[in-house]
Symmetry: C2
């Protein structure tokens, strides 16, 4: 048996990033950047006001109160064309360019504008500003040429905003990898279609379809293949052009013997592994027709957990990301846990918080790997490393939170 | 000033869920369920084998080793048609229906099949099974009629799988709310377009577009409106049919005076609030033309934080979800924090882990709310409640993790 980490490393080692494509800025959201985004201008492009108020020369306001002549107004987008001289001020707004000659802004609340009568057109400054007060310096956010977003990086909403403000209408991102999904088995049928005797409704393919989209790839769901070598070979051959082929079912001991000869004519180079994990069953991995092939167990819980541990990282690697495997959080166990055997265990668990706000992960009573309802209701998987000693309720464990990316 | 919680409650109180639509199962992923999903059949639909091996009568195997006559084989999808009598067994596979008469499964590893010679067609059972061993009972996962997924619920990949296995090819979900996004200001231009003097590239609209999609709504990005009442009124009127109108910019003191009269002819009912939060500025909220209107600050960091605190919950409420506001995690502060004033503060921070795996949230040195680069690089916002006392490095704080849903 090999470890989860070794299995993942072998899969990642066989994969290379797909090519890039150009997308309009808004469609870059959630995609993986393939080329750096550098600032095209300084931001701000000039010294600007951080507040609504008056642009002044700080030296003029050293002794307050003082009255300054208001030369005009500079709303954002309408810079003041002249220069502020001694005893002069310009009405200014948040984001407005600081007029020539000014070196500080006095906020509106610290001023009085005389609109009529004696002193009309003058503003009284009541608080002395330091030089630079309420001024955002040119390039204070970023300078032209600065690389703001470096690949590989999955682009957040905030990243799209910064790419916009850096002047980019287009982004270069990895194209979506094509992932062919093949469900096999004489016993399965699509939901709503007639079920064969002793049959079950196909579900793994739908979970995989959603996971593939969640991670940023394009699923190609193949028709269900019966347990027949020719049909399986035909289905996989039809996936030509895919970057990755994922099968589910057909990974039990008996069915291995079906898939190996079925794919041999396609130039299959296939490994079967036993991975030291639970839930999990024999796992297929190999290369066929220029694509990597991941064979997941047919058991729904095993298939989903294997998809989290291996398929998600594989797609991430195709997108140029590290593919490190699921992030974990620290939580306290809500129940005592027995010592673990040699297989990494992934216990379906609920998450709650104690009165200090610390996460508490409580394993579901039943851990049967055929029970989808328990998996769907779980908030997390408690990670039990191989040979982990028993522990008491309240001790720290690592958990893989579920539900991220709506998985 | 009102609190963040009160502002959110007022917004949510004005919104009702949008209507439902039917989508094909795979397109239900990430959508919000609007009608319960109940199981159409028991799962499993019959007692089935949990392993590859032999279906037997446990009573026959009380004393081992014992030889049983193998009547045939029942691969998944091909149930055995006959009945197992005394001294008989049937070859069975994971997921196969347990034949009539059998009450236990002996796993393959505990058997020997004599394929030829004396005893050909017999299997030797080496380990005595308990009645029910390795049998998954009918309805052990779920029973027909059980509500597996109850609205409102955002559907995960696992949920799509369980809906499939419950026999559903279609799902009833909330339609995507239409959210009109309006950026205002004489100074802003779209990326790649000519900038006016003293202008800045529009970015908030792109952040909002991505956030709206991230939460499951459909953005309608309106053309940028200059600081002109007629143009603003025209833009908002064009948003008729939207469920929510979000503006950014135009929420500084001076610009309030622009938007209020601009929208009056459209039957505007508008509140301006000062919310006790930072970053944040005056906030608009009201009703216009049958839609709720959220006016976010123009400052990019303030706009994004306000979108997280108010826009995301508003969209969630339109989707029928609670809209509780961002989830928080507990972390230890990576730096001492000063006492807070009366405004809830949201410090841009990086996240790391200490040697125990505990999250450490370290505030960025600069917290200027105009600095998009710092916000884009942040992993979390440290939440400082109003009047929070100062605290030392290492003390616990609540953080809002960023990056979820690629926001």
């Amino acid at each position: 048996m090999i470890s989860v980490a070794e299995a993942r490393a072998r899969i990642l080692g066989s994969l290379s990033p797909v090519g890039a494509e150009v997308v309009p800025l808004p469609l870059g959201w959630g995609r993986v950047l393939a080329a750096p985004v550098a600032a095209r201008t300084d931001k701000p492009a000039a010294d600007v006001s951080a507040m609504d108020g008056y642009a002044v020369r700080a030296a003029d306001c050293a002794s307050v109160p003082v009255r300054l002549a208001v030369l005009g107004s500079a709303p954002a987008g309408h810079p003041f064309a002249g220069t502020i001289g001694a005893g002069e001020a310009v009405r200014i707004f948040t984001g407005s360019v600081l007029p020539e000659g000014a070196d500080a802004v006095v906020i509106q609340e610290d001023t009085d504008l005389a609109e009529r009568g004696e002193g009309a057109g003058q503003v009284e400054i009541r608080v002395a500003p330091a030089p630079g007060a309420h001024v955002r310096r040119r390039a204070g956010d970023f300078a032209a040429g600065t690389v703001l977003l470096a690949p590989p990086r999955r682009l957040s909403a905030r990243d799209i905003g910064i790419a916009a403000s850096a002047g980019h209408a287009w982004l270069t991102v990895r194209r979506r990898p094509r992932v062919a999904i093949l469900s096999t088995g004489d016993e399965i049928a699509l939901p709503g279609e007639p079920l064969p005797a002793g049959g079950v409704v196909s579900s793994n393919g739908f979970v995989l379809d959603a996971i593939v989209r969640a991670v940023g790839a394009e699923p190609v769901t193949l028709p269900i293949a019966p347990d027949d070598p020719e049909a399986i070979a035909e289905a996989v051959a039809a996936a030509r052009g895919a970057d990755l082929v994922v099968t589910s079912g057909g990974a039990s001991v008996g069915q291995h013997d079906l898939i190996r000869p079925a794919l041999a004519p396609l130039g299959l180079s296939l490994d079967f592994w036993r991975i030291a994990m639970r839930p999990g069953k024999p796992f297929m991995f190999g290369q066929v027709g220029g694509a990597a092939l991941l064979g997941l167990p047919g058991n729904p819980v095993s298939a989903t957990v294997c998809a989290l541990l291996f398929l998600v990282p594989a797609i991430e690697r195709l997108l140029g990301l590290p593919g490190d495997g699921p992030q974990t959080l620290r939580a306290r166990s809500g129940a005592p846990l027995p010592a673990n055997d040699h297989r990494a265990d992934h216990l379906r668990a609920g998450l709650a918080r104690d009165s200090d706000g610390i996460l508490i992960a409580t394993p579901a009573e039943r851990q049967d790997s055929s029970q989808m309802a328990i998996l769907a209701a779980a908030d997390a998987l408690i990670l039990r490393p191989p040979h982990a000693p028993s522990l008491a309720a309240g001790e720290w464990v690592d958990v893989i939170p579920l539900g991220g990316r709506d998985i």
